[in-house]
Symmetry: C2
Subunit: 175 residues, 2 copies
């Protein structure tokens, strides 16, 4: 686990693509899958400068929307990584060896979202953030698998950006 971090990251990135059929490539893949999970969280993490700029804005509902657009932008920019995380949810459900670490990882994402929202002073309480998290997760799933399923579902509402706006408007109080 020591040595050349960049080389290791490149090797793990190479593993992200075949995760759906990883059983064909790796005899014992639990450790590889855990490393891919960790690596995907790095790949999908927000840009610190972008986040610092967003946090300087007024703490109203439109700022929550800006954070959700940023999240959706990262997910669609690294669509392969996002699909790999979905594959791993199912893999962890099938394989007890992976379940504990992946359950911790999935839950940490939600807890981190709740903590961030609270500390940033954004509108809405923990329940708001939880419902928002679930709706964004559903949007990601429906938008990516299979692509195109949401096109035109609400006339005049773009996919996914317009739907992000509708989700935030429905769930988050204005201030």
């Amino acid at each position: 686990m020591t040595g050349h971090p960049e080389r290791r990251a490149a090797l793990v990135d190479a593993g992200v693509d075949p995760v759906g059929t990883a059983s064909n490539y790796f005899a014992d893949r639990d450790d590889l899958l855990r490393q891919i999970d960790t690596r995907l969280h790095v790949r999908l993490a927000p840009d610190p400068d972008k986040f610092a700029e967003l946090l300087s804005r007024p703490k109203d509902r439109s700022l929550v929307a800006a954070f959700m657009h940023d999240l959706m932008g990262r997910a669609t920019h690294d669509r392969t990584g996002c699909l790999a995380l979905l594959e791993m949810r199912l893999e962890a459900t099938r394989r007890p060896e992976l379940r504990a670490s992946f359950t911790t990882s999935v839950r940490a994402d939600l807890d981190e979202g709740i903590r961030f929202h609270r500390e940033a002073g954004l509108p809405g309480g923990d329940e708001t953030v939880t419902v928002l998290h679930l709706a964004m997760l559903g949007l990601l799933l429906e938008h990516l698998t299979p692509p195109g399923a949401l096109e035109g579902v609400l006339p005049g509402v773009g996919v996914p950006e317009g739907l992000v706006e509708r989700i935030v408007a429905a769930i988050v109080p204005m201030t």
Copy 2:
């Protein structure tokens, strides 16, 4: 496709379990997967008598919650079927041969939800139903893959029933 419908349903049910590793069992599985998708929609469909009883109640937000509890109950009762539908989303994303039919199937579920909500005179417009659909989809994903990730996220709120209540209360107008 004719002959003994019950025998065919039993054969397709037998295919639901190994869908995650279907490539190990079936040389050409596109048609099997389409039949499984159709069959799962039958398995996961609401009970007509239950729905008729629900539709006789006042058309307020608590009725929307009752329908969402019914949906969640069907999904957790047939957890294997629900996981198979998630597997097929990913399979359809990888395989162009499956994508068109599965995109149509996924979209039909949402369109049917919008039509049902409108015709039943339930509170909230098409945007409400769309956001509710996405939040319930996210709840299903987070509740089932991996199981346990949501336990105790909101103190005193049961998983998944209490979260269903919070989703409906956050998204659906009272009347």
